[in-house]
Amino acid sequence: MPDFPSGPGKKILEQIRRAQQNQHAPVAKDSPQQQYLSFRLNEEWYALSVYQLVEVLPLPKITRVPSVPDHILGVMNLRGEVLSAIDLKKILGLPQETPAVTPSIVVVEEGGVRTGLLVDDIGDLVDLGLDDLTEEPLLTGKAQPAFFEGAAHWGGILLSVINLRGLLQAEGMYSPQG
């Protein structure tokens, strides 16, 4: 039975927990468990390994940068370091629905470089084992299979687990294609 530490997305967690009690939640057995941060884009839920997580910030002022791909929102300041901020929805080809009430920036580190990812809401930390990734991730819009580790069914909610490396190394990520 995975445990849920308290955090900003407490409400969501309660929801997950309740859903979980009603259904037969997958129970991790042999495979080692890893912690993931769950977050929301529109109405879908995603997760990221905490190993690559640096911190979560309320949406700061983002400075636009000319002639960069559409999904790069611009640059932001993280304690004196200039990071690029990326709109995950645009990368995954999700529609821009109603503006988020509590938009956040998830700062991740991959290959020694920090990047900020814009998400609609933060859920909580969940423990998953590799065995749990039994589901197909949500391949919406421009999403490519390389962007995901897989997906887990979590009490009625599908958590698509992002493969950060696959995502950030995708062709055309930082410069216009062609």
Binding site: R64, V65, P66, V75, N77, G80, S84, T115, Q169, M173
Partner: protein, 869 residues
């Protein structure tokens, strides 16, 4: 990894091209092993390939390329032949490089195999030497120290050639050879030590007067020093030293017949009595008053100082808010005065507590403010000092140049005296590291094309020995490097023909171009041609690369030339790359920084004056067409500017890069400040038109614009945007010659351009004395002078002019910052015809006054009014 990927993608095309070229050169070599051009080309491309491998951190490939370089060098030295076996090995290597290009994987086994195949070939002629095992940790220190020695020897030898009897120099060179020998032997590099020892012997003989400083001796010493330098290079790459000491040793030994080439170094022997004991101790026990610090650590320190400065700005603004709270508190307290009668007995205690808290708030905030001010001063000093550490004298680059000039002048059969001045000027280390290549290129060009052969010079009545003058100086926030040669100059008409011939420009388009504009043609990509550039000067780079390199360092390069007399290049560079002085502006809701070195002025232009001229939006400013662009649109953002200012005027910041000027429409100007430059993060390293970012006091990121890139990004379009004289609007009156006397460079240039734009001819002088000298040589129609100047001020100058019979009627206009009534009176007393104060300086006013004084009713062409300066 992503960082590497980014880099890989950026570099791979260049890498592929280098490989193709290398391949091609090898093919040519195969058909003609004597083809020196192809051999040179192969080496050059191989060098690029090595650089790529090293940047991609593929050490195995770097090593392979390095060994290939050794092979090619051996061929070029005639040590072995380019034959089929060798060609096969090299082609095999190319396959491995291509494999890496395709897959980004290094086939390590195959590389190792190939290395094993090639190395025996090399080491039959060159021996390898390794450091004694226990000494390996000292290797980096040894290399650094030894390089210093080699460098010092090189410098010393160059001076010695010019001044053979200078015993001071000989001692200095000797000292370095000696200390190199000592450290090499300590490290276990016997053959290197031996070579240095031979050098020492020769130098001692020179010192004792047994051997004259002949060109032959110098050549041998130079060659030996080069061999030492090569050994250090290989050592730095492979931890093993490839030693090719024989030929150098033989040459040195031939100078001293009593020394056997195979003689063992006398390591254990006490140092010869020639050296004074005090000197020995000076070389063997160096005083520890300096430390070597890696540049990465230094940069980290500077970054931290920059961070501290930014944090300080935020702290200061918080302290400000606190002070405002304190002031409100004080006002509140005074106003309420807490009149006792309105307070209930029971409240008195808590009110007293409240008042006490208020007092301590006051006291604390006052102390905090003091502390913050103190910290701010310290941080400023810290930032300044840490920046200074990065500053190194240009001598580090300049000192390597005499040798290059010497070799090149021999190669081209030219006779040159190379003068260096201002080498103590300091500049940012990063700039220093990258300025060498452009300088060498300019020198090559000068020696190859600029300077005539001694015969030609004699025939044209010039001294046979040409002069190349390299000079550095600091002016304001800039370092100017000037390279002048007294060669044949650049024929701008010929440039025009070539450019038209190559289809780079349109004949009609350039028919009205000034000489300065035509000279700019040499910087066009693709301009350098075989008809203009020989194999040496043409080493892959043209002047466009020189310009690009300089602009990458946030500098500018300009050329002027007098046909038959001289060519002059002026490179202006920022003193540091860590900070930049910038104008902060607002545009489409974003705050942007524009480095002030790219800005010529800011203007308010009536909207209706911005109109299509020659197919694009422009205004006529000071008689020139100034193209106007929207900054928002230029940055590729698709919204509108904030709209015109009040009274239908638009705010324009006029920027310049090279000959090109463009005014950008902006929304607001927020002020000038010194900003810390940061990069945009590893992902966005190469964003077009952005030179970096800075963090504002509010914590927001502001982009720093790359003006040269913004102006040069569309060459075809921009070429037509070069300002041209408008004949129908300006009537240049070539009959009037004005002398502008002003000690401040900026003001001088500004006044000069204003007057020239109005059609006058202008000569400038830096002070009163200089002006009198020019007045003696030439006759002028009017003088514009400043008052406060070194050597002779404007009052004295005016008086001198009035007292001289020849110039007593010459109109004098005083333009000065001294606006006291008494000064004005004095100015008019000594005989000035008009007195203008700089703070209320209005160009049209000046032109009108000059027009009146010259009996000219009106000077046309003032379409816009300036607010700048």
């Amino acid at each position: 990894m992503t960082e590497d990927t980014d880099l890989f993608l950026t570099l791979k095309d260049d890498y592929r091209e280098a490989l193709e070229q290398f391949n091609d050169a090898l093919l040519r070599l195969e058909s003609d092993p004597e083809d020196r051009d192809s051999l040179d080309r192969a080496s050059r491309q191989l060098h690029n390939v090595k650089g790529f491998a090293n940047r991609m951190r593929a050490p195995k490939l770097g090593q392979l390329a390095h060994i290939f370089e050794d092979v090619l060098e051996a061929i070029s030295l005639g040590r072995f032949q380019f034959d089929e076996t060798l060609a096969n090995l090299l082609f095999k290597g190319i396959d491995l490089f291509v494999h890496y290009l395709r897959s980004r994987e290094v086939p390590s086994d195959k590389v190792a195999e190939l290395v094993e195949e090639i190395e025996p070939l090399l080491f039959t002629t060159i021996e390898a030497e390794s450091a004694a095992t226990d000494m390996e940790p000292l290797l980096p220190d040894f290399i650094a120290a030894a390089r210093d020695n080699v460098e010092a020897i090189n410098r010393g030898l160059s001076s010695l050639e010019k001044d053979p009897s200078n015993s001071e120099i000989i001692r200095e060179v000797y000292r370095n050879a000696h200390s190199l020998k000592g450290s090499a032997l300590t490290m276990g590099f016997e053959r290197m030590g031996k070579l240095a020892h031979y050098m020492e012997d020769v130098l001692r003989a020179i010192q004792k007067g047994q051997l004259p400083v002949t060109p032959k001796a110098c050549d041998a010493l130079f060659e030996t020093n080069d061999a030492l330098s090569v050994m250090l290079d290989t050592l730095a790459v492979s931890k093993r030293m490839k030693v090719d000491a024989e030929s150098s040793m033989k040459r040195l030994a031939s100078l001293l017949p009593d020394i056997e080439p195979e003689e063992e170094p006398r390591v254990a022997e006490p140092v010869r009595p020639v050296i004074e004991p005090s000197e020995v101790s000076a070389t063997t026990v160096p005083a520890v008053d300096s430390v070597r610090v890696s540049t990465a650590r230094l940069d980290e320190l500077i970054n931290l100082a920059g961070e501290a400065a930014i944090a300080q700005i935020r702290l200061a603004s918080e302290v400000d808010s606190l002070m405002r709270i304190r002031e409100s508190w004080q006002r509140l307290r005074l106003k309420e005065n807490f009149s006792q009668h309105s307070i209930l007995e029971s409240d008195v205690g808590s009110i007293n507590q409240f008042l006490e808290l208020g007092d301590s708030l006051e006291e604390t905030s006052r102390r905090l403010q003091e502390a913050a001010e103190n910290t701010s001063r310290h941080i400023e000093a810290l930032q300044h000092r840490s920046m200074e550490i990065r500053m190194l004298p240009l001598a580090l680059v300049f000192n390597t140049l005499p040798r290059a000039v010497r070799d090149l002048s021999r190669q081209f059969g030219k006779q040159v005296s190379f003068r260096v001045e201002g080498e103590r000027t300091t500049i940012d280390k990063r700039i220093l590291e990258q300025i060498g290549d452009p300088l060498i290129h300019l020198l090559r060009n000068a020696l190859d094309h600029g300077i005539e052969t001694p015969e030609v010079r004699r025939q044209s009545g010039k001294p046979e020995t040409a002069i190349i003058h390299l000079k550095a100086s600091q002016e304001g926030g800039k370092v100017l490097i000037t390279l002048t040669d007294d060669g044949q100059g650049i024929d701008h008409e010929r440039l025009k023909e070539i450019a038209i011939g190559k289809g780079l420009i349109d004949g009609d388009e350039v028919k009205d171009w000034t000489q300065a504009q035509l000279l700019e043609l040499i910087f066009l990509p693709g301009f350098s041609t075989s008809s203009l550039v020989t194999d040496v000067s043409g080493r892959g780079v043209g002047m466009d690369v020189v310009r690009a390199n300089v602009e990458r360092l946030k500098g500018q390069v300009e050329v002027t030339s007098e046909l038959g007399k001289k060519t002059k290049f002026v490179i202006s560079l920022p003193v540091t790359l860590a900070t930049v002085h910038a104008l902060m502006i607002q545009c489409a809701g974003e705050i942007l920084a524009i480095p002030t070195f790219s800005i010529t002025k800011t203007l308010q232009v009536p909207i209706h004056e911005i109109r299509p001229i020659q197919g694009r939006q422009a205004v006529v400013h000071q008689g020139e067409i100034l193209p106007i662009r929207s900054l928002v649109t230029s940055l590729g953002w698709d919204e509108e500017n904030g709209g015109p200012l009040a009274e239908g005027r638009a705010l324009v910041v006029v920027t310049q890069a090279g000959e090109r000027r463009v005014g950008f429409l902006i929304d607001d100007i927020l002020g000038e400040r010194e900003i810390v430059i940061k990069d945009l993060g590893s992902h966005l390293r190469k964003v077009s038109c952005v030179a970096g970012a800075t963090i504002l006091g509010s914590g927001e990121v502001a982009l720093i614009l790359d003006i040269p890139q913004l102006l040069w990004q569309k060459p075809v379009e921009v070429r037509q945007e070069w300002p041209e004289q408008l004949e129908e609007e300006v009537s240049p009156d070539r009959s009037h010659l004005i002398l502008v006397v002003e000690d401040q460079v900026v003001t001088r240039q500004m006044e000069k351009s204003i007057l020239e734009a109005a059609g006058f001819r202008v000569v400038t002088a830096e002070n009163g004395l200089d002006a009198l000298e020019k007045l003696r040589q030439q006759s002028f129609d009017l003088v514009v002078t400043d008052i406060l100047m070194p050597k002779m001020d404007g009052f004295t100058l005016t008086k001198e002019i009035r007292d001289n019979e020849r110039t007593k009627n010459l109109p004098v206009v005083v333009v000065t910052s001294m606006e006291r009534e008494a000064d004005k009176r004095r100015g008019l007393e000594v005989g000035a015809d008009a007195y203008l104060v700089k703070s209320s300086f209005d160009q049209r006013h000046l032109i009108d006054i000059i027009g009146n004084l010259l009996g000219k009713r009106r000077v046309k062409g003032q379409g816009t009014s300036g607010t700048g300066n």
